[in-house]
Assembly symmetry: C2
Homo-oligomer: 150 residues x 2
């Protein structure tokens, strides 16, 4: 058993941490950090989902999600509304302030993805996304299996 067998963890970890460093820097002017912007993008595509759904979508634990959402509400990017169908849950919505910065946030991420894939051909980019999707599907299958066993 040598380093080659755990290289996938190491590579995705390095890419993730570099992405954190980049996004923390370029999104500072919007008061957003690497942990917060995924919430805005997720709500942008799924307006009105609740806190549990967004935590699951982003693979973040509930306590961490609660902290980040509270901050996003304080900054004025997110608002909560009572869920008529489930009194324990709250639906989350983007404010107009958040919607107005989404194009700029997406442009920053687009630029970062261009930097990261500068040397890849179009075919290689498609292949990489395809392979990572298979990895993520394996992870989800494993988790679902764990839940059934647990």
């Amino acid at each position: 058993m040598n380093g080659d067998h755990i290289i996938l963890t190491k590579l995705t970890g390095s890419i993730y941490r570099s992405t954190q460093v980049y996004t923390n820097e370029v999104l500072k002017k919007y008061e957003l950090g690497s942990g917060a912007y995924p919430y805005l993008l997720t709500l942008y595509h799924n307006d009105g989902i609740n806190q549990n759904q967004i935590s699951k979508e982003l693979d973040v634990d509930k306590a961490m999600s609660a902290r980040i959402i509270k901050k996003l509400i304080t900054i004025g990017y997110v608002r909560k509304e009572a869920d008529q169908e489930d009194s324990r849950a709250c639906k989350l919505y983007l404010t107009d302030k958040a919607k107005s910065i989404i194009p700029a946030v997406k442009a920053e991420l687009f630029h970062w993805n261009e930097i990261m894939t500068k040397s890849l051909s179009s075919e290689q980019k498609i292949e990489l996304v395809n392979l990572l999707n298979i990895v993520l599907k394996d992870i989800k299958n494993y988790r679902n299996h764990q839940k059934v066993e647990g």
Copy 2:
């Protein structure tokens, strides 16, 4: 500009967060979290490097590194020694206690990498690692270029 252009950030983020959840759980018995084990593995392969070198190797900022290393020293996994050549720096070494758990930590990570790549053929695994290495090289080139400009 749509979601496809930022999907690499999203996929590597999801894989990283899933890895955090898994490693936090299986390494709890060693008092290690997802943020700490990479330090032990890096020192295992580079015993005697200093705090700045390990931060750079892992793409972690210096303040975060200082906190994690302090904790690893408290637990008894790492020891510091004055660097004879640079009085401001300290060299870091694994203790025997750390060395004794490395095989078990590696086995857990090996198992996780097996779970993640269950559906990939050997060729696909090699291709994925190859493509991610190209991405990481692009990131490093970008950073070095930034440093020269800054």
